[in-house]
C-alpha cells in the first residue's frame, strides 16, 4: 500500500502506479476501456449494417470531403503524441512540461471538436439531417458519440489542469493524468476506425 512507497529519494519512477490507489485507477481504466470497446463495436456494427440505406438522401460519396477528414485525423493523432509526451514528463518529474503537453493536447482536441461541429453543420446544409435516412442517423450517432467522448475528455483534462495548476507532480494526481492519457489514446484508436470505416470506405470502399 501507500505505506510501502519509498519517497525519500524523490518521485518514484512510475508515480502513476506507486500507490494502491494509482494501481486501482490504472486497472479500472482498462476495465472501462474494454467496456467502451464493446460499446463502440455495437455502434460500428449498426453503421455498417445501415450505411447503404440512404432513402433518396445524400450518399456518403456525395458529401464527405477527404481533405477535411485528413486534417482532423492529423490533429487527433498529434494530440495522442502530445499526451504520451506529457506522461513521459510526468515520470521524469517535469511538471512544467507535463502542463505544457497537456495544454497542447487540450488545444488540439478542441480544434478537432470545432472542425467536427463545422463538418456536421456543413452536412446538414447539404441535406443530411439526423432523420433523413438510416445512413444519416447511424452516421451522426456513431461520429457524434465519438465527438461526445472528445468533449468529455476535454472537460476532464481542463479540470485536472485547473485544479492541479500549482500542485506539482504528486502521488495523488499522477494516476489521474495517466488515466486521462489512456482514455485519450483510446479516443484516438476509435477515430482511426471511424476515418477508415466511415469516411474512407464511404468514399472509396
Amino acid at each position: 500500500m501507500a505505506d510501502s512507497v519509498d519517497v525519500s529519494k524523490g518521485l518514484p519512477a512510475n508515480p502513476e502506479k506507486a500507490t494502491l490507489d494509482g494501481k486501482n485507477k490504472f486497472l479500472g481504466m482498462f476495465v472501462f476501456l474494454a467496456g467502451e470497446t464493446t460499446m463502440f463495436a455495437t455502434f460500428f456494427g449498426t453503421y455498417l449494417g445501415l450505411r447503404s440505406g440512404t432513402a433518396d438522401g445524400p450518399v456518403a460519396a456525395d458529401i464527405f470531403q477527404l481533405p477535411l477528414v485528413f486534417i482532423m485525423t492529423m490533429i487527433l493523432l498529434t494530440s495522442s503524441l502530445t499526451s504520451v509526451l506529457a506522461t513521459f514528463a510526468m515520470k521524469k518529474n517535469q511538471f512544467g512540461k507535463l502542463k505544457f503537453w497537456m495544454w497542447m493536447t487540450f488545444l488540439l482536441g478542441a480544434t478537432f471538436l470545432g472542425l467536427e461541429i463545422y463538418e456536421f453543420v456543413e452536412y446538414y446544409e447539404h441535406g443530411l439531417g439526423y432523420t433523413t435516412s438510416a445512413f444519416a442517423s447511424s452516421f451522426y450517432t456513431l461520429v457524434g458519440l465519438h465527438g461526445a467522448h472528445v468533449l468529455f475528455g476535454l472537460g476532464w483534462i481542463l479540470l485536472l489542469l485547473l485544479r492541479n495548476r500549482k500542485a506539482g507532480i504528486t502521488l495523488t494526481n499522477a494516476p489521474k493524468f495517466y488515466a486521462f492519457s489512456l482514455y485519450w489514446h483510446f479516443i484516438d484508436v476509435v477515430w482511426v476506425f471511424i476515418f477508415t470505416v466511415v469516411y474512407l470506405m464511404g468514399i472509396g470502399g
Binding site: 501507500a2 519509498d6 519517497v7 529519494k9 524523490g10 518521485l11 518514484p12 519512477a13 502506479k17 500507490t19 486497472l27 482498462f30 476495465v31 476501456l33 474494454a34 467496456g35 467502451e36 470497446t37 464493446t38 463502440f40 463495436a41 455495437t42 456494427g45 449498426t46 455498417l48 449494417g49 445501415l50 447503404s52 485528413f70 485525423t73 492529423m74 493523432l77 495522442s80 503524441l81 504520451v84 509526451l85 513521459f88 515520470k91 521524469k92 518529474n93 511538471f95 500542485a167 506539482g168 504528486t170 502521488l171 495523488t172 489512456l182 489514446h185 483510446f186 484516438d188 484508436v189 482511426v192 476515418f195 477508415t196 470505416v197 474512407l200 470506405m201 468514399i203 472509396g204 470502399g205
Partner: protein
C-alpha cells in the same frame, strides 16, 4: 505517510540507467507516431488515388487501421510493458467480444449480399 501523497517532489528518484531507458522509450514512441502518420497518409492516398478498385482498397485500409490499433495499444498505451498482464487480458476480451457483435449487427441489419 499519507501526507506525502499530496506533496510534490524536488527531484526524480530515477537513477541514470532508468533515465536512459525512459529516454529510449520516448524515442520509440516518436518513431511509432511517425509510423502511424505514414500509415494514415497511405490509407488516404489509397482512397484518394483514382482507379484503384474497392475490392483492393477496402481490405487494405482495414489492415492499415489494425496496424494502427496495435501501435496505439502496445506503444502509446504501454500494453507491451511487463506489468500489463491484466490490462492485456481486459483489452483482448473486449476485442474478442466486439468482433462477433459487429458481424452479427451487419448481418441482422439487412446486408444480404454476403
Amino acid at each position: 505517510m499519507a501526507e506525502h501523497l499530496d506533496q510534490s517532489f524536488e527531484d526524480s528518484a530515477m537513477n541514470s540507467e532508468e533515465k536512459r531507458k525512459i529516454n529510449r522509450e520516448q524515442r520509440t514512441q516518436i518513431i511509432a507516431f511517425a509510423f502511424m502518420i505514414g500509415l494514415t497518409i497511405l490509407a488516404f492516398l489509397a482512397v484518394g488515388a483514382e482507379g484503384l478498385p474497392p475490392i483492393f482498397t477496402t481490405p487494405f485500409i482495414l489492415l492499415l487501421a489494425f496496424v494502427q490499433l496495435i501501435l496505439q495499444l502496445y506503444y502509446f498505451m504501454h500494453l507491451k510493458d511487463k506489468d500489463h498482464g491484466w490490462p492485456n487480458s481486459f483489452m483482448i476480451s473486449g476485442l474478442v467480444l466486439a468482433a462477433p457483435m459487429i458481424v452479427a449487427l451487419i448481418m441482422l441489419l439487412g446486408v444480404v449480399k454476403y
